[in-house]
C-alpha cells in the first residue's frame, strides 16, 4: 500500500536548540498511530513542524504527504494537501465568526483544488451535518472563533473543523488534555466517525486514557527527539503500568 505520510530523519529546533533529532515515521491509509512520550520529548514540536508552525526551524530530513514534499509548502498549502492539526491550545480569534472562518477555509481549499466556491446553502447544510459529529451547539457557529468557549468546546470545535476539511492525515495534539470523561467520549467518538480506509490519524498523548476510545494500530514512544520504541496497542498499556522510566533508562544506557 502507498505511504500516506512519510517522515525521514527529520531534525528541527527552536531558538537554536535542536529538539527533533531524526524522526522516522511511516503512516499508511486506514491506520491510527499514537505518539506517546514524557514531557519535553518533542511531541508538540513534531506536530508543529509538520503543520508549518513558523516558530520552528527545520534542520534536516524530509516529510511527504502522498508524495508531496510538505516542508517546502506554506501552512495553508499543507492544509490544502490534506494535513490537519488539531491544536493543543486552540487560538481565540475575537471578531471573526466561526461561520466566516470556516467558509474562508473551505473556499480557499476549493480554490486550491480548482473548484468553484461552495454555495451558501450547501455550506450551511455541511456545517449542520458536521456539527452533529461532535454534538457542537449551533450557537457556537455564530460566535467568534474559540472566544469564550470552554476547554471541551474548544476541542470539540477542533474535531468539527477536521470534519469540515476532511483531511487525509489528522494530527491530534493532546486533544484529551483538559477534557472531562463525557467530552473525551464525544471527541473520540467524532474522530472514530471520521475514520475511513483512505485517511489516517496520529494521536499525540501523554496518557493511555484516550487510547481506550481511539484504538491505535501502532504506538510510538518519543524520547529526546527520537522515536525510541514502536509497538502495538499493548505498548501503551505497558507504559501506563510502568511509566516512562524504563524507556529513559534503556535509551540513556545505550548512549553511554
Amino acid at each position: 500500500m502507498e505511504d500516506l505520510l512519510k517522515v525521514e530523519n527529520l531534525r528541527a529546533g527552536i531558538d537554536g536548540k535542536e529538539i527533533l533529532r531524526g524522526i522516522n515515521l511511516t503512516v499508511r491509509p486506514g491506520e491510527v498511530h499514537a505518539i506517546m512520550g514524557p514531557n519535553g520529548s518533542g511531541k508538540s514540536t513534531l506536530s508543529g513542524v509538520l503543520a508549518g508552525d513558523p516558530r520552528f526551524t527545520v534542520l534536516g530530513g524530509s516529510a511527504t504527504l502522498a508524495g508531496v514534499d510538505l516542508l517546502g509548502l506554506s501552512p495553508e498549502d499543507r492544509s490544502h494537501e490534506g494535513l490537519f492539526l488539531s491544536f493543543q491550545y486552540p487560538v481565540e480569534i475575537p471578531g471573526v465568526t466561526m461561520v466566516n472562518f470556516m467558509r474562508a477555509a473551505i473556499n480557499a481549499k476549493r480554490k486550491y483544488l480548482g473548484l468553484e466556491p461552495m454555495s451558501a446553502a450547501d455550506f450551511l447544510k455541511t456545517m449542520r451535518q458536521k456539527r452533529a459529529v461532535v454534538e457542537l451547539d449551533n450557537k457556537l457557529a455564530s460566535r467568534s472563533v474559540n472566544e469564550g468557549f470552554s476547554g471541551g468546546e474548544k476541542k470539540r470545535n477542533e474535531i468539527f473543523q477536521m470534519a469540515m476539511l476532511e483531511p487525509r492525515v489528522a494530527i491530534l495534539d493532546e486533544t484529551d488534555s483538559g477534557l472531562d470523561i463525557d467530552a473525551l467520549r464525544i471527541v473520540a467518538g467524532g474522530v472514530n466517525k471520521l475514520k475511513t480506509d483512505q485517511n489516517a490519524t496520529i494521536v499525540i498523548t501523554h496518557y493511555q486514557r484516550l487510547l481506550d476510545y481511539i484504538k491505535p494500530d501502532f504506538v510510538h514512544i518519543l524520547y529526546k527527539g527520537r522515536i525510541v520504541h514502536t509497538g502495538g496497542p499493548e505498548l501503551a498499556l505497558e507504559l501506563e503500568e510502568k511509566g516512562y522510566d524504563w524507556i529513559k533508562q534503556e535509551v540513556d544506557n545505550e548512549q553511554i
Binding site: 508552525d53 487560538v91 481549499k109
Partner: protein, 459 residues
C-alpha cells in the same frame, strides 16, 4: 518668517485684493464672518509656530503652502453635478444635499421631502427668523485659536445651516455629500452649522468624494454642532478621497444638559488628513461617544486629535479610535480629556488601538488626561502592535492564505468601532466597505458604502 516664504499670506492678500468680488451679493451674516476672519488672520500669521510633535505633512504651513485657487467669484462647477447626483441605494433613503466644491446645492429630493421642523439651507439664504441663530452659531463655532480657523472665516462664502426645531425627531438621515471636481488645484472652504434644539433628534452623514482624483485639493471643512438640552445628534463622517486630497477638518460641538452626541469618523482613503475634534460639555448628565477608524496605506497620512472638555457634572464619555497602517502609512492620535473642577461624577474613557502591518508604517499616540476634580472616573489607554502571529498560524493551518487571514484579522480588529454605529444601514454598508478596502478594491464612488453615485451629465 519673511512675507514671501509665508504660506498663509497668499490668503490674506487674496481677501484684501478681492474685497469687491467677495462683497457681491454677500449677506450681512457672512460679511461679519469674513471681516472677523481677516482681522484674526493678520494676527495669527505673526503668531504662528508649528507644534514640535506634528507629522510634518500635517503642519498648517505645509497644508496651506500650495498655490491653490479659491473660488471667491462663486463660479459654479462646469457640469451640473448637483443635479445629476443621486443616491443609488433606496434603503439609505436620506435627505441628500450636495456641496459642489464649495457651493451648496440642495437636491430636489431634499426640497420635496423636507420634514416639518427641519431647516437645511445655504448660509446665503437663511430665513429671516433664523438669521440671529445662524449668526450666533457662526460666532460660537469660530475656531478662534487656529490660523486655519481664521483662513476659513476670511474665505467663507457659503455653507450649510441645519436647524431641528424643539422636540422634533427627524427620522431620515441628512446626508451631505462633498464633491470635488476641478481642473485646477483648489482650496474649498466648507462649513456646516447644526443646531439641534431642545429635545430634538437628528442624524447627519457627511461624505467626501473627489471626481478629479489627480488634482490637488485642500478640503477646509468646519463643522459646528450645538446640542441643546435633551437633544440627540448622531454625526457620521466618511472620507474616501484621493492621494492628491489634503483635508483639514475641524469639528467643534457644545453639549447642554442631558443631551447625547455620537460622532464617528472613518478614514478609508485620502492623501493627508488632519482631523481635529473639540467638544465642550457644559451641561449636566450628557453623554458623548466619539469613535473612529482609519485604514492608512501607501503614503497616506491620517492624524486625529481630540479635546473633550467636561465642564458639567454627571456626564459620561466614551472614545474609541482604531487605526490599521500598511505600507508607508502614517498615523497620529492625540486625545485629551479635560475634567473641570465643577465636573463631578464624570465617567470618561478613551481607547486608542493601532496595528502596524508593515515595518515602514508609523503611528504616534499621545493620550492625555487633565483632571481638576476628585470625584471622577477616567481611564485611557493606547496600544500599538502587530497582528497576532498565533492567530495567523491557526488560520493558515486551516487553509486560509496568510494575506486573507491578515485581512480577516484586521477587519476583526475594526469590528467594534463599526458595531458601535447605531445607524443600521450605515453600519452594514461600512462592514462591506472596510472589507473591500482591505482587499485592495479601489476606493471610488462605485465602491463607496454610502452608494451615492454620480452619473455623467446628460447632453
Amino acid at each position: 518668517m519673511s512675507r514671501s516664504d509665508n504660506a498663509f499670506n497668499q490668503y490674506l492678500d487674496l481677501v484684501r485684493d478681492n474685497a469687491a468680488v467677495m462683497a457681491k451679493g454677500r449677506p450681512a451674516l457672512l460679511e461679519a464672518v469674513n471681516k472677523a476672519g481677516a482681522s484674526r488672520l493678520a494676527e495669527a500669521i505673526e503668531a504662528y509656530k508649528p507644534a514640535s510633535d506634528e507629522i510634518p505633512e500635517c503642519r498648517l504651513d505645509r497644508l496651506f503652502a500650495p498655490d491653490y485657487g479659491v473660488n471667491i467669484a462663486r463660479v459654479p462647477m462646469t457640469a451640473d453635478v448637483a443635479a445629476s447626483f443621486r443616491c443609488g441605494v433606496p434603503q439609505l433613503n436620506s435627505l441628500l444635499a450636495v456641496v459642489a466644491n464649495d457651493i451648496f446645492r440642495p437636491t430636489d429630493v431634499l426640497m420635496r421631502n423636507m420634514p416639518e421642523g427641519l431647516t437645511v439651507c445655504s448660509l446665503r439664504q437663511v430665513p429671516a427668523e433664523f438669521e440671529a441663530d445662524a449668526a450666533a452659531l457662526l460666532a460660537d463655532g469660530a475656531d478662534k485659536n487656529s490660523i486655519a480657523g481664521a483662513i476659513s472665516d476670511a474665505l467663507a462664502h457659503d455653507g450649510i445651516y441645519v436647524r431641528v426645531a424643539p422636540r422634533t425627531e427627524i427620522e431620515k438621515a441628512v446626508q451631505i455629500v462633498n464633491i470635488f471636481n476641478s481642473p485646477v488645484p483648489m482650496l474649498t472652504p466648507r462649513r456646516l452649522l447644526v443646531h439641534a434644539c431642545e429635545g430634538s433628534k437628528v442624524k447627519i452623514l457627511l461624505c467626501d468624494h473627489t471626481q478629479t482624483p489627480a488634482v490637488q485639493h485642500l478640503n477646509l471643512q468646519n463643522v459646528y454642532i450645538r446640542v441643546d438640552a435633551g437633544a440627540e445628534v448622531e454625526f457620521y463622517d466618511i472620507e474616501e478621497s484621493s492621494a492628491a486630497t489634503h483635508r483639514l477638518f475641524s469639528f467643534r460641538a457644545v453639549q447642554h444638559s442631558d443631551s447625547r452626541l455620537t460622532v464617528n469618523t472613518d478614514f478609508l482613503s485620502g492623501g493627508v488628513t488632519r482631523n481635529e475634534f473639540d467638544i465642550s460639555v457644559p451641561g449636566d448628565g450628557a453623554y458623548t461617544s466619539l469613535s473612529g477608524l482609519a485604514i492608512v496605506s501607501d503614503e497616506q497620512i491620517c492624524s486625529d486629535s481630540v479635546v473633550l472638555r467636561h465642564l458639567g457634572s454627571h456626564c459620561t464619555s466614551r472614545q474609541i479610535f482604531k487605526n490599521a497602517l500598511f505600507d508607508k502609512g502614517r498615523g497620529a492620535f492625540g486625545g485629551r480629556i479635560v475634567v473641570d473642577e465643577a465636573a463631578r461624577f464624570t465617567d470618561a474613557a478613551q481607547t486608542n488601538r493601532n496595528i502596524l502591518e508593515s515595518p515602514s508604517a508609523r503611528m504616534e499616540a499621545s493620550p492625555q488626561l487633565e483632571i481638576y476634580c476628585d470625584e471622577v472616573k477616567c481611564s485611557h489607554g493606547a496600544t500599538t502592535g502587530q497582528l497576532d502571529e498565533r492567530a495567523l498560524f491557526y488560520m493558515q493551518a486551516r487553509g486560509i492564505p496568510r494575506d486573507e487571514a491578515k485581512r480577516m484579522l484586521t477587519q476583526a480588529f475594526m469590528v467594534d468601532v463599526i458595531d458601535n454605529i447605531s445607524f443600521e444601514v450605515l453600519r452594514q454598508r461600512l462592514h462591506i466597505l472596510v472589507e473591500k478596502r482591505l482587499s485592495g478594491a479601489s476606493a471610488d464612488c462605485s465602491t463607496c458604502a454610502t452608494a451615492c453615485h454620480s452619473q455623467a451629465p446628460e447632453e
